[in-house]
Symmetry: C2
Subunit: 344 residues, 2 copies
């Protein structure tokens, strides 16, 4: 993070024809983008939404309202352009990149569909983490490496902002277990409805997450936690975060799942939080806990709990606007009024 | 408001391939746009930001950090495209319409500048409302009529959403007095820093607003309050709100000033609240009070207190995205899965 670039942008914002700081978080976001990109001329000219998808053995334990086959069906929607995140990415002028890290029933693509990148580490998805490790350490490393590789390809292609997305039936349960393990919190405080479980089903989901935690209480370090708890798409997204940090690319978090990937990346490389921006706040109860641990404040708070990257995609226009204000808005100096900066 | 159209859109959103209600306020906003536009196919294809500007005699009492001449200077920025709201409207794909209702020093436009419409009701701005009426009842009616006329022109030109903006040095003081008078609240709870007054200057602003209220405590009705308290741009914006209600055009409120205009319109025609959407929440302390009175929840909360229409302009992409989800996202029926609607 380049504090000098951020300070230059802050001073430029102070010189714009307006009361000091009166554009609130738009000014803060412009400075943050500058610090991340290490330039006083930050840009959001070519954003991408990166979706990683995989299945979760834990889903067999009934933690989701949907069967595992739905993961592949949703990928079909990403490929055909009819998913929520597809619509929102188009609205935000962002390209969509979808990678399959281990979906049990991958979609049958048709001519004209967007591609789904094959980054399959385990074709069966993860194993059931409540009875054993979700994957091996080697597989976790491979998934993280795939995430880093996705960023390298995007950067080579000119992408200057990455929004995170995900798909994987059962992955709020996995994300809850990861978050509880990494932050030392009680699962009951973190587990929420996800796609819509409630009542007894929600209580069963909490118990499942507690089983996962108990099963892996002796995990040695963040890599070990990641491999034993899962999931494949979360590991890949942690890699995307690490890749963005390495390449000075702002990474826009979505909801509870992608933020669990951000927690993993943070525990592997603490300074990578400097590269993160929280796109929105999900009503999933653990999300606020995660964002507080990372020291992040969400841009939007619209009660969205769909995931896929939908909240992050919707936040992109706010970041674009922050940069546009910096680029295009007039300053007191332009008016020959350099001494007339406002009093407050 | 067409509750049937809103219900059809709500059902269509429920049928989209996602957990029920998981797009949160995007779904609510799509339904609200449908109800306002009285169609199950709501649209944000041609939005406009309408800025009304005028000067305030009350500003002579030292309620602002800036002299009155700044109103005209800011209009110059709107005309040249370098203002904050100009940048944000461009980002949101919205046209900008600027009307002068009574600016003391109107801008000298240059070739290539955007026009500033001459709707001047009083070339001197309002009179000092702490010592007498801001304007006559006839002038208030003329300003409101100008606002209605602006909407008629825009509607004829295909505009399908109007975001409100304003400019007028001293107008947070006027808006505080109007809000206090219309809602029966204490000025001290409503008056905030505006462009940046604090300490003794803020205390003086509160006293000024209290003087205005005391001076016009015998105002008979909302028209009388509007004429005696002012201001010209607020009256015109109240007219814009009324015009939008008459033409079924969604009207997106900005901050404290434009919402005071919405309060006036509501007191003149209570059902016009059905046409309103709150674009954002300003940190100006009275704004939340106003929105609660109108029963509105803001779309954005980014600490923006610049006014001009900046917060409303920034909210336009969220509304566009709500409509795009309705139009473009796939449904369970598309997949031949009409019975697979999710459980929650």
């Amino acid at each position: 993070f380049d504090a000098d670039a951020a300070a230059i942008v802050g001073a430029a914002m102070d010189g714009k024809v307006k009361p000091l700081k009166s554009l609130g978080r738009l000014e803060v976001l412009a400075g943050r983008l500058a610090g991340i990109q290490r330039t006083a001329a930050p840009h959001v000219d070519s954003p991408a939404v990166v979706i990683c998808a995989a299945d979760h053995g834990l889903a067999a334990g009934g933690v989701s309202a949907y069967p595992q086959e739905v993961t592949g069906l949703m990928l079909q929607g990403f490929a055909s352009g009819t998913s929520a995140v597809g619509v929102l990415a188009r609205q935000s002028g962002a390209r969509l990149l979808v990678a399959d890290l281990g979906v049990i029933a991958p979609p049958q693509l048709r001519p004209g569909d967007h591609p789904v990148l094959d980054r399959r580490v385990r074709s069966t998805g993860t194993a059931d983490s409540s009875t054993g490790p979700a994957m091996t350490l080697e597989e976790a490393r491979q998934a993280v490496a795939h995430g880093i590789g996705l960023v390298e390809d995007l950067v080579a292609d000119g992408v200057d902002l990455v929004a995170l997305g995900e798909m994987g039936i059962g992955n709020t349960a996995t994300a809850s277990a990861l978050t509880a393990a990494l932050l030392g919190r009680e699962p009951a405080r973190l587990v929420g409805p996800g796609t819509g479980v409630q009542g007894e089903a929600l209580a069963r989901k909490v118990r499942k997450v507690e089983e996962v935690l108990a099963r892996h209480a002796d995990a040695r370090d963040p890599w070990d936690v990641l491999a034993r708890v899962g999931g494949l798409e979360i590991a890949a997204l942690a890699g995307v975060v690490l890749g963005c940090a390495a390449h000075r690319v702002p990474v826009l978090l979505d909801g509870f799942i992608t933020t669990s990937a951000a927690l993993v990346a943070w525990r592997l490389a603490p300074t990578c939080t400097h590269t993160m921006i929280a796109g929105h706040l999900s009503p999933e109860p653990g999300h606020q806990v995660q964002l507080e641990a990372l020291g992040l404040r969400p841009v939007l708070d619209l009660g969205m709990r769909l995931g896929e990257g939908s909240g992050a995609a919707l936040a992109i226009p706010v970041l674009r606007s922050a940069v546009a204000v910096l680029r295009e808005m007039g300053s007191f100096a332009d008016l020959g009024l350099a001494d007339e900066a406002p009093p407050a």
